[in-house]
């Protein structure tokens, strides 16, 4: 008869998993070759890559024309990119028609901005509160003065008509991102409010802006903004597109944030209320930190979209990065069949680098937050 009772009297050894389960072989087995269909797809994709990638990489590197005074060499080498065109026009792509002697001002604004942004985004940076003060209060004033110019400081005025290229795109995206998030959060809180007027106003704004294409928002801002300002105040030509970008992005962000607010368990509100925290305190200290981290993927998604949507400001007369490339393509000295592809490949690379950086940063933040909230 089988023995039913059993008592273990010595603990067994703790062993590592078998060789086929760990290391590179284990990863390959689990991710690329885990089943017959998975193996088939892996092989198909590998074949596709081998068929297309070498040609593409050669077009961009080995067969490309890197240096040339004009388009003749590019016209002669039609199977490669014309990077010489980009090199020749690079200053125009970066600064637009900003006067060459004053371009250092754009560089300073971009450099300081990059340092401040890195300071604020680095999770373990010291004294981030001070950095926030610099970035949100001091930097806009200093940046505005530097870019626009001030006669009293002996900085020649540079009309915004001359601004163009990369720095306009970055500036629009930065202003759009920085100002749309607080506005979006307020709209989301307003939509969830129990006060009927606040709620109705938020709903009307969000649904109204979401129902209209971005270009239309830009046109409306262009034509209607002067109506909202005191008579005699005519805003700089750059202000309406910035306002339009902020309002547009805020409406979409509001819905993202509202999704996060809804997902948060009711117990969090109750726990905070039971401690005596008033509405704004509990929203700022307990609810928003959690709700915003819940929707980071969605927020970054919106920011990435906004970054690329800024190109639409060219339809209201601003020369953004893509418009600068379009202008450069019209140069007769460089015309040739490879020019279009080269120009847009460069644009794609630029946008890809920034958008990919944003998405990697958000992934890192999500990982870091997940560590502290293992529940």
């Amino acid at each position: 008869m089988a023995v039913v009772a059993y008592v273990r009297n010595a603990t067994g050894p703790i062993l590592p998993p078998p060789l086929a389960q760990r290391g590179a072989i284990g990863w390959l087995r689990a991710n690329l070759f885990s089943s017959w269909s998975s193996t088939a797809v892996t092989l198909l994709l590998a074949a596709f890559c081998l068929w297309t990638l070498p040609d593409l990489i050669a077009w961009a590197t080995t067969r490309a024309v890197w240096r040339a005074p004009d388009g003749a060499l590019c016209r002669a080498h039609q199977d490669g990119a014309c990077w010489a065109f980009i090199a020749a026009k690079l200053d125009y792509f970066r600064y637009g028609s900003f006067p060459p002697t004053e371009r250092w001002r754009v560089d300073v604004v971009e450099g300081v901005g990059a340092v401040l942004i890195a300071w604020l985004l680095w999770p373990r940076a010291p004294r981030r509160g001070f950095g926030a003060l610099l970035f949100f209060v001091v930097y806009p004033i200093v940046g505005f003065v530097l870019l626009r110019g001030a006669v009293s400081l002996r900085l020649p005025l540079v009309d915004t008509q001359l601004w163009g290229g990369i720095f306009v795109s970055l500036l629009t995206a930065l202003v759009g991102i920085v100002f749309s998030l607080p506005l979006g959060v307020m709209l989301a809180l307003g939509r969830r409010s129990r006060l009927p007027i606040v709620k109705a106003a938020s709903v009307v704004f969000i649904e109204g802006v979401r129902g209209v294409p971005f270009i239309a928002v830009l046109y409306m801002a262009e034509n209607m903004l002067p109506l909202f300002l005191p008579p005699g105040w005519s805003p700089d030509r750059f202000i309406p597109p910035l306002v339009g970008a902020v309002l547009f992005a805020a409406a979409y962000l509001a819905e993202e944030v509202r999704g996060g607010l809804q997902t948060l368990p009711r117990g969090q509100y109750e726990g905070a209320m039971a401690l005596g925290l008033g509405y704004w305190r509990l929203t700022g200290l307990v609810i928003l930190p959690q709700a915003l981290t819940l929707v980071i993927p969605g927020l970054v998604n919106n920011f990435i979209g906004l970054f690329k949507d800024t190109t639409l400001i060219s339809s209201v007369g601003m020369v953004d990065f893509l418009a600068a490339i379009d202008n450069g393509l019209k140069d007769a000295a460089w015309s040739g069949p490879t020019l279009l592809a080269t120009g847009y490949a460069f644009a794609a690379l630029f946008y890809f680098v920034f958008c990919y950086a944003m998405s990697r940063y958000s992934a890192a933040i999500e990982r870091r937050l997940a560590l502290g909230r293992r529940q």
């Binding site: 209320m273 005596g276 293992r374």
Partner: protein, 246 residues
Amino acid sequence: MANGPIIEFVDVHKWYGAFHVLRAINLTVGRGERIVVCGPSGSGKSTLIRCVNRLEEHQRGVIRVDGVELTRDLRSVDEVRREVGMVFQSFNLFPHLTVLENCALAPIWVRKTPKREAEELAMQFLTRVKIPEQALKYPGQLSGGQQQRVAIARALCMNPKIMLFDEPTSALDPEMVKEVLDAMTELANEGMTMVVVTHEMGFARNVADRVAFMDEGEIVEINAPNEFFAHPQHERTKAFLSQILR
């Protein structure tokens, strides 16, 4: 004010839509008194104690906490909430803050205590519930029993006059129930006014001054624990106790 009852329910009614969830509740709780409320699920016991700090609003009758009547007035509600601490079944700790930050949050932002003082206070209470070494961890890294004790410490950091417990051990694994009940017993022995909704009859017998039985929105019977458990008067109380005390 210092001598009257600390909680007063006078003919309190509450409806959820058409459902009459609290019916003619009359209850006074004296200072330092410990009340245990028991009853079947759906009887309104959680709703009852949630009315004390206005997490639920009553539609008829008067509720007074330490002399302050609970009305729509937001300032009186906040005033009451500062003096009433609550411990929830699902802990409701803030997962994005450390244990220490959880406890110090309310003193810093509601009582305007300076940060260092608030953190010292928090450490004191964490020591009282016997988990000072967990102060810098996040709630997600603690066991259920530890999280509930943090919740108790967090409520105590506001120096409340009343502590409400809404089924504090119902979501815990059995081996962790004792540590939480011990913390609550210690609190009771120090003279805190407590209103506890629980199924832990042992706790009720040892700690309560009075035990109340609620069913279908009414307080059916309320009595001192010996009397309540030994000689239940009402039919429904007898039926309930026979099911609970096997």
